[in-house]
């Protein structure tokens, strides 16, 4: 169905490109288009933890003459200005829909002016017509691996790259803090987070890490490229729940040649590993609860496992973002769930579901800046278990039907 109303139009690859580039320090983005899209972005970045692209994103301010005549002076002048004034390591030239339709050759422009430009220039030319935002993120990852990553001078032992999180990734502040904390427990450290918390130098040195931890399916292609070219092994998956977190730590430790101390693990489990059965009373049964999970792949897999392994709840439905809102609405009406995990739009659609847990992007009505609300890892388990218990107690009718 082409007509949409209650759901949201899926962000295109253009957004993925912007989001994947925006977490890289020393890199500026110049989009070639009319200023409207740039102005819109100034606004829509706010839904991602009230971020702002100020100082990161610029527009060439394309006008009618540029479109009609196919002129490229404006974009060249803008590149020269950014290069001279801010001296970034990289300027990423990003196409908008208009550039894409008129067929302007961004790579050709780069070839013409690169020699006179100190910053390295990269082009991203799909302009919103190559699929959803995941395609844009992949395009950036590919380009960075192909054009920025350098041959490693040496390999840093016990060092990992986290590959996948970009500025749009749900709850990335807390989740990354927890992953870094768990790695520290193992004696490992993070080389860089590719790309939501990185810089051009760290990307150049990406191949010096001993292991790549892929937290999102969109990062798999880059991890495979790095394995093929530089022999860096990778591990794919997020740690959810106690069992999932222990397995993740053991697996990562094994791949790095480290081991997880039993004493440390016991301390951690003692602090964060409480079972849901310790927190409910004997008249609060959970096994009848109907749950819908509507999250991107990695969160869906992780949350499903956590619910099954830790809470004893078999989710009634797991939905990936590809499902349109009308179908989700229909499915919810059929299942009549007690609990839904989803994005802001899913939770709006599920207005009659008593327990709504915000667990995915878009998040226009939620902020996740504080680093103490992880979903992943041992602290994520503790946080989610505590959250769900509080929700259940606030909605005791769910125990009765």
């Amino acid at each position: 169905m082409d007509l949409k109303h209650n759901g949201f139009p899926v962000p295109s690859d253009y957004f993925g490109v912007l989001w994947a580039l925006s977490g890289i320090k020393d890199l500026l983005i110049l989009e070639h288009g009319s200023t409207g899209t740039c102005n819109y972005n100034a606004f829509n970045y706010m839904i991602m933890n009230r971020q702002s692209p100020k100082g990161k994103l610029f527009s060439s301010g394309m006008d009618e003459d540029d479109v009609v005549m196919g002129r490229d002076e404006k974009v060249k002048e803008a590149i020269a200005e950014l290069d001279g004034k801010y001296r970034p390591e990289v300027i990423a030239l990003v196409a908008t829909g208009v550039t894409s339709v008129i067929g302007l050759d961004l790579q050709g422009i780069i070839e013409e002016i690169q020699s006179a430009t100190k910053s390295k220039l990269l082009s991203f030319s799909s302009g919103g017509f190559s699929g959803d935002y995941n395609q844009g993120i992949k395009e950036v990852f590919r380009s960075l691996v192909n054009n920025i990553v350098e041959e490693p001078r040496d390999i840093k032992p016990y060092t990992v790259n986290i590959i996948g999180p970009t500025i749009d990734s749900f709850n990335n502040v807390s989740d990354l803090a927890e992953l870094e904390r768990m790695l520290m427990l193992l004696g490992a450290q993070v080389n860089t987070v590719f790309t939501c918390k990185t810089n051009v130098r760290d990307i150049k040195n990406l191949a010096m890490a001993s292991l790549n931890l892929v937290t999102r399916d969109t990062g798999l292609e880059a991890a495979k490229m790095l394995k093929e070219r530089y022999g860096i092994p990778y591990y794919y998956g997020l740690p959810f729940g106690v069992r999932g977190s222990v397995e993740w730590m053991n697996d990562v430790a094994g791949m790095l040649g480290l081991s997880l101390s039993r004493k440390i693990l016991a301390e951690e489990i003692g602090k964060y590993g409480y079972s849901i059965l310790e927190l409910v009373n004997f008249l609060q049964n959970l096994d009848h609860l109907r749950v819908v999970i509507s999250c991107p792949l990695d969160y869906s897999i992780g949350l499903k496992r956590l619910m099954q392994d830790e809470w004893g709840i078999d989710p009634s439905l797991v939905v990936l973002p590809e499902l349109d809102s009308a179908s989700l609405e229909e499915a919810i009406a059929g299942i009549n769930p007690h609990i839904i995990f989803g994005n802001s739009y899913d939770l709006m659609i599920a207005k009659n579901v008593p327990i709504k847990v915000h667990a995915a992007f878009p998040a226009f009505d939620h902020i996740y800046r504080y680093d103490g609300t992880p979903f992943v890892g041992l602290r994520g388990h503790a946080h989610l278990t505590q959250t769900i218990i509080n929700h259940l107690n606030q909605n005791p009718e769910v125990f009765r039907n």
Partner: protein, 442 residues
């Protein structure tokens, strides 16, 4: 000239140096955030038209942004009805044509939502691709119940949103029909708010028996728009609605007064008297009372604010008249940031210059550069929508006037004065934190 030795100073112009046609010097090639587009402005406005739906026809970039903008607004004191429908304009549609998809969507929207009017909003891309969109709509008109109105928003043809917004107003014109003139009735044109009928202007007019028939484009129905030409007077409150007023005058003989929002008490007095004159009503006593109250507040504010300096940006209404108000307060406007100077700003500019007030006028093409300018000028206060965090770090007090935007008359100026005088605790907390951070960076 200020800052003549600095790089940014070379991009500055004094108000007295502004050319007759009002053209401002471009200050950057790499722009941020740039002017907002008409697609966004129109998508944000049409939810105010009751009994209508707006079908947005654009690429995912524009649709996603439009939806988010509405969602963000839904969290504010001024939410708007959810009447936006979306059809994605994909690469296949560019190659193989969009007509069938649009046709299906219109039929579906008509059947499912039963709008009195279905607005069809195009984006830049359809205009560039050049598919004959209007003829496609003409073909389908006989098959739908809704009135179909097309609004073109080809933003790439201009630097701002004005043409698209004007097209939106012109689409309302298509609904209008000739009406018998009804004395003591008005339309307010160019006011975007659910509280339009609670404004001071509305209250004063009502107290004299004047009936506000429509606030366009705020919460009027297509049927009401149809009858809109029958009023005694259109009161045009902003430049975007002016073309509609002119068309109504030409086609239906509806008189209008162009009356952008003033700030200075004397200007407000004249503004009211002009409106009252056109309506043959006497507001002298009410104006005098309200003006006295504002003058008293202004005197108190002057004690607190005299000697301070400020920067002004993103103001609704007559920006240069606000600068005159600031001057009355003893506050020196050091810089005015704006994108467009309107022809009718000229008299306020002349008045400022006559009074020896000659601030820098700067086209804020790049926010980072604007902040450089602010750092050089170090005003005490920034009025407008600049980044509060950045201002706080420079120890500049941000004053956001958004609550005054939907007010008219003396109440608006009172609100501006209140905002200038009151420093909320949350702002103090922000400035305290940013100062610690700024000191840590030294």
């Amino acid at each position: 000239m200020y800052l003549e030795n600095s790089e940014i100073g070379k991009k500055c112009m004094l108000l007295s140096e502004l050319p007759e046609d009002g053209t401002l010097i471009a200050t950057a090639r790499a722009l941020y955030p740039g002017q907002h587009c008409s697609f966004r402005a129109v998508a944000g406005t049409l939810p105010l038209i009751k009994n209508s739906y707006a079908l947005l026809l654009g690429p995912a970039i524009c649709l996603y942004n439009a939806k988010l903008s509405m969602n963000m607004r839904s969290l504010t004191s001024d939410p708007r009805p959810n009447n936006l429908l979306f059809v994605n304009y994909s690469q296949d549609d560019i190659i193989f044509g969009f007509r069938e998809k649009v046709r299906t969507a219109i039929l579906q929207a008509d059947e499912e939502y039963h709008p009195e009017v279905l607005f069809l909003i195009t984006s830049c891309l359809q205009e560039i691709v050049g598919e004959d969109f209007d003829s496609c709509i003409d073909e389908i008109r006989p098959h739908v119940h809704a009135r179909l109105l097309i609004i073109h928003t080809e933003n790439f043809t201009c630097e701002g949103a004005a043409p698209g917004i004007e097209n939106m107003f012109k689409s309302f014109f298509e609904l209008m029909t000739s009406q018998p003139k009804e004395e003591k009735t008005v339309n307010l044109l160019g006011l975007w708010t659910s509280t339009a009928r609670k404004t001071e202007l509305a209250r004063l007019l009502c107290s004299k028996g004047i009936v506000i028939k429509n606030v366009i484009p705020s919460y009027c129905t297509p049927s009401e728009l149809q009858k809109a030409p029958g009023v005694q007077l259109n009161i045009v409150l902003d430049q975007y609605a002016l073309p509609l007023a002119k068309m109504m005058k030409e086609q239906f003989g509806t008189e209008y007064i162009y009356a952008r929002k003033p700030y200075l008490p004397d200007s407000i007095e004249k503004w009211y008297k002009d409106i009252a004159g056109d309506l043959n009503i006497d507001l002298s006593a009410e104006i005098e009372e309200l003006k006295t109250q504002t003058e008293e507040l202004l005197s108190r504010a002057r004690i607190a604010l005299a000697g301070k300096t400020c920067a002004v940006s993103s103001i609704s209404g007559r920006t240069f008249d606000l600068a005159l108000l600031l001057s009355r307060l003893g506050v020196e406007p050091k810089v005015i940031l704006m994108q467009t100077v309107l022809p009718d700003d000229r008299s306020d500019i002349q008045e400022l210059l006559t009074q020896g007030i000659d601030p820098i006028i700067f086209r804020g093409d790049n926010s980072l550069q604007n902040e450089e300018l602010f750092a050089e000028l170090s005003p005490d206060i920034s009025l407008g929508m600049q980044d509060r965090q950045a201002l706080a770090r420079m120890a500049i007090m941000p004053v956001v006037l958004s609550t005054s935007y939907y007010m008219l008359g003396f109440e608006s100026t009172n609100e501006v004065l209140r905002r200038l005088l009151e420093k909320p605790k949350s702002l103090e907390a922000l400035m305290y934190k940013e100062q610690i951070l700024a000191n840590g960076e030294c």
